[in-house]
Symmetry: C2
Subunit: 394 residues, 2 copies
């Protein structure tokens, strides 16, 4: 048994936000039906393909059933309402207002199925001055001070490489759906769950906000790889013979141990002997640490610090990450194999001892399960199904 055995989820999701949530639900055993417009989830058409299939699409949509459905047609909307009538969860991240225009708003669906949990992902939520505005990972990073807090002090703001906004919101709405499923056990009623991209990323700025308000704005907005409050030195990434390594000494003990390992007489100078002294001379301290790391490879830095308790890590490149034995063992980046060959998908970061992760099969082609769903889930006749095909609804 899995945590979500018997839970039926309709995902009218696209890009990353809703599909990541429904992926997490699928890995926990939910039956996920992904509904796509006739032209398919835009992420099917990304140019980043392997074997003619978008890598992103496969990573997020393996383990779901795929239905093609034209929600702009009345008959398509009717089919969607039929599916919602028998579902536990409907999650969507269409443009704000689209579901209402399709007659698929929460009020309408809830009146058909009071046990339905509807989850809506948007950029800015359903209220507030920016409600309804379109949003993408980059524009939310700009609007939420993620960019202005990322980058070097004397350089331009930078977006984060990973799509942290979309996935942060996806993880939150997953938790929200689970909370609503839990509450339904007690009330018998479904409800509407909402998560906005901007809301979901703001808590991660807690340290930055604390630095801003406690310093009355005197702490620089971005500090590169140095400590956000410039209150811990050393704390940086340092050049090595083959890349970079991060090293930080949050306590006096860490610094003393680092001095022993580096064995550089300059490190033992009086002006570096306290944290306050090191903070006042951070450029000099960084030069000393880099003098040591630059003679080593990044993995040699890690080896030299093993057992000292000094927090450190090599700055791993993406190709190195893909080959990392720990990552392979964890199975989050899940290397799969089937008769057609090897393929890559996402496992789940959520490990439950009583709910073994459901191994996904490859992401289905657009509409691959349409007929099965119409027949098996909605009990339609062959005639009805043919009619839907003929009219272009499915």
């Amino acid at each position: 048994m899995t945590a979500l055995s018997g839970v039926k989820v309709i995902c009218i999701g696209q890009f990353y936000f809703a599909p990541y949530c429904s992926m997490l639900l699928a890995r926990l055993g939910a039956d996920v039906i992904k509904i796509e417009a006739p032209e398919g989830d835009p992420y099917r058409r990304l140019p980043t393909t392997v074997d003619n299939t978008s890598v992103q699409f496969t990573m997020l949509n393996a383990g779901k059933r795929a239905m093609r459905l034209d929600l702009k047609s009345e008959r398509g909307q009717e089919v969607a309402r039929q599916l919602a009538s028998q579902a536990d969860v409907l999650i969507q991240n269409l443009s704000p207002g689209a579901m209402e225009r399709f007659g698929l708003g929460y009020e309408e669906l809830s009146s058909l199925n009071p046990r339905l949990i509807m989850a809506s992902g948007t950029g800015f939520g359903s209220f507030g001055p920016y409600a309804g505005e379109p949003a993408m990972d980059l524009t939310i990073q700009a609007r939420s001070a993620v960019m202005s807090t990322t980058g070097f002090m004397d350089g331009a703001p930078v977006r984060t490489g990973p799509s942290v906004v979309d996935f942060m919101a996806g993880a939150h709405i997953f938790g929200g759906v689970m909370a609503a499923l839990y509450q339904r056990e007690h009330t018998g009623r479904g409800q509407h769950v909402e998560v906005a991209l901007q809301d979901a990323i703001l808590p991660s700025l807690t340290s930055n906000i604390a630095g801003l308000i406690s310093s009355h704005g005197t702490v620089p907005e971005r500090t590169g790889n140095r400590h956000g409050g410039l209150a811990v030195v050393p704390y940086n990434s340092y050049r090595t013979r083959d890349g970079w390594a991060t090293v930080l000494c949050p306590t006096q003990g860490h610094w003393q141990r680092l001095c022993e390992v580096m064995d550089d007489p300059d490190a033992k100078l009086e002006r570096f002997s306290t944290m306050a002294g090191r903070c006042a001379h951070s450029d000099e301290v960084d030069v000393i640490v880099e003098r040591w790391t630059s003679g080593l490879t990044k993995n040699e830095v890690t080896q030299a610090l093993a057992g000292t308790g000094i927090p450190n890590a090599p700055v791993v490149t993406l190709p190195e990450l893909m080959e990392d034995p720990h990552v392979a063992t964890r199975g989050i980046l899940r290397q799969m194999q089937d008769t057609a060959g090897p393929w890559l998908t996402l496992g789940s970061p959520v490990f439950l001892s009583d709910s073994p992760m459901v191994e996904p099969s490859r992401a289905p082609a657009l509409g691959a399960d349409t007929d099965d769903i119409l027949r098996g889930d909605l009990h339609m006749s062959d005639e009805q199904i043919q009619e839907l095909h003929a009219s272009g609804v499915v």
Copy 2:
């Protein structure tokens, strides 16, 4: 009623990871008891204070009850076991192995309370080559290619400004706890939930991984504020009179509308007329767009593009974010007021229509609720409580 009315949570958490999870649970109505070592959560002692209280600590721990308990003492461990015996959830992110050393491992607690859900947050999880290794936001960002994918093409890797790793993991473990609570409704049993920092951040690298493997490693690892695959132009942040603005044109229609708005004859040159052409001349396109933005303020850029459907946003600074009317309305950064004055905490990004957010009171002082918990929750006599105080256990 709230989603988590009647759910009792013990949080043996520190820093951000577990405390963020228990904060989300508290906002949904759970009764959260935060257990701290005699010296307190290290984040109480951060130098970033307002009114002598750490801003970070208040943001994450408002709305919880606080108990001081020495888990290194046998008597303290006994008290913790008593609390776990009557709790629904115990969440912890102590150093790997610490709970087992304290006689508070999952096996032990589960035998006392089979309905208990234990949630453990670690850096690298309970299996795999790096299992048990310490981890911090910076070192995980280094180890997980977050840094190597963030920054400019010709520059050094950069960490993200916000603590995305800690909060991403906190959101995932919140979902995991909720899934376990839901499953318990059907099985009557608790279980062990595990989330590792590294696992939780890896899915957000999906686009980067897709770019790497589909291009056989030819796409640059980091692309500044340009599109990760360099396949959309324009897509960048551009200088304005008072900062930066992001503008992107994912489709031909967006570009045509931008050309109309910019009204620059150079933009209409033949070599920029297709996406392939713009990608081949991205530096030139960026010069043209920046020529336009540099005559405007960042908010004027947004005003000029209003109604065009072209995705864009000003690069908002942290002080501007704190004053943003939308952020204020949403209440995620929650400006509170009590008799002692104004204070700041986190609201919840998870909106449930049937579970109004529980408004928190200020984060309690270390051990503020210890006696109440010993008396009210564990039914200890005044004598027993005095004894625990006298021996330094609480």
